[in-house]
């Protein structure tokens, strides 16, 4: 179940401690065409299976995470610090 989310900093925590932002998408360049921005802001896939989302550990370490979960089984496959994943310091 996705109700226990593994935080890379805090360990296993209930979903109540988190805020979900939604799909973890690559942000277009500032001067990208309006279509790219429209897709980025409004359009979402609704996949059956693996899905990457931004989760904020609001009541814990307050770090943004990228959580990959399966929308069918609710199994959380990976969870990593979003800044670390982008190559920035944690």
């Amino acid at each position: 179940m996705a109700s226990l989310v593994p935080c890379p900093h805090c360990g296993s925590r209930p979903k109540e401690e988190f805020t979900i932002k939604g799909a973890a998408l690559a942000r277009p360049a500032p001067d990208a065409d309006p279509d790219s921005w429209f897709h980025y802001v409004y359009l979402r896939e609704n996949p059956r299976g693996a899905y990457e989302e931004y989760w904020h550990h609001t009541a814990g370490c307050r770090r943004w995470l990228i959580v990959c979960r399966d929308t069918v089984t609710h199994q959380v496959n990976t969870s990593q610090d979003a800044a670390a994943a982008k190559g920035q310091a944690a």
Binding site: H9, C10, S12, T58, A59, Q88, A90
Partner: protein
């Protein structure tokens, strides 16, 4: 000039005491939050040294963040020095007014806390000396385990009384 008097958030709360459990307010001394900049190197050693020098305890809050906690208030001049001590690697923020601490201890402490938080309270997962940030009920709290049956809870000042009432309720069956 109006006479402004600082009142402790849990001033009117007397400790809740029984054989199994004891819930008591802790003095509103010093709480200082230390935040490391995104590009700064690891400051763990520096933060711990600073805490040692100033008689405070450095407790991890999150990656690159600590609460420096002490029972006694820090003088204004000393605080000014503390806040700037690790600049530009890390910045301090005085939270002495903003966080209120209480203590929960006794053989039933783990049973009481387990009603409010989903943190694994097993000694191996959460050994004495460790701190975690979590929820107690709906209230975000910073939890430190001093000993196997001795916990310190720090919450935002405005939620201190609500947290006390919640904890008192959780203690009720052992009082």
């Amino acid at each position: 000039m109006p006479d402004l008097r600082a009142l402790p958030a849990l001033a009117d709360r007397t400790p809740l005491v029984s054989h199994g459990i004891r819930l008591s307010p802790l003095p509103e001394g010093t709480v200082l939050q230390m935040i490391v900049g995104p590009d700064a190197p690891d400051q763990t050693a520096n933060v711990e040294r600073l805490a040692n020098e100033s008689g405070l305890a450095a407790r991890p809050l999150s990656p690159g963040q600590w609460l420096l906690i002490g029972d006694k208030p820090t003088r204004r001049a000393d605080m000014k020095h503390l806040l700037a001590a690790l600049e530009p690697q890390a910045s301090g923020i005085d939270q002495s007014h903003g966080r209120v601490r209480m203590r929960l201890e006794g053989p039933m402490a783990v049973k009481v806390l387990a009603k409010g938080t989903a943190v694994d309270l097993n000694q191996r997962a959460f050994p004495p000396g460790r701190s975690v940030a979590t929820l107690i009920g709906h209230i975000a709290a910073h939890l430190t385990r001093h000993d196997v049956e001795d916990f310190e809870i720090a919450v935002l000042r405005g939620l201190a009384e609500a947290c006390w009432i919640d904890l008192a309720g959780m203690c009720e069956e052992f009082v």
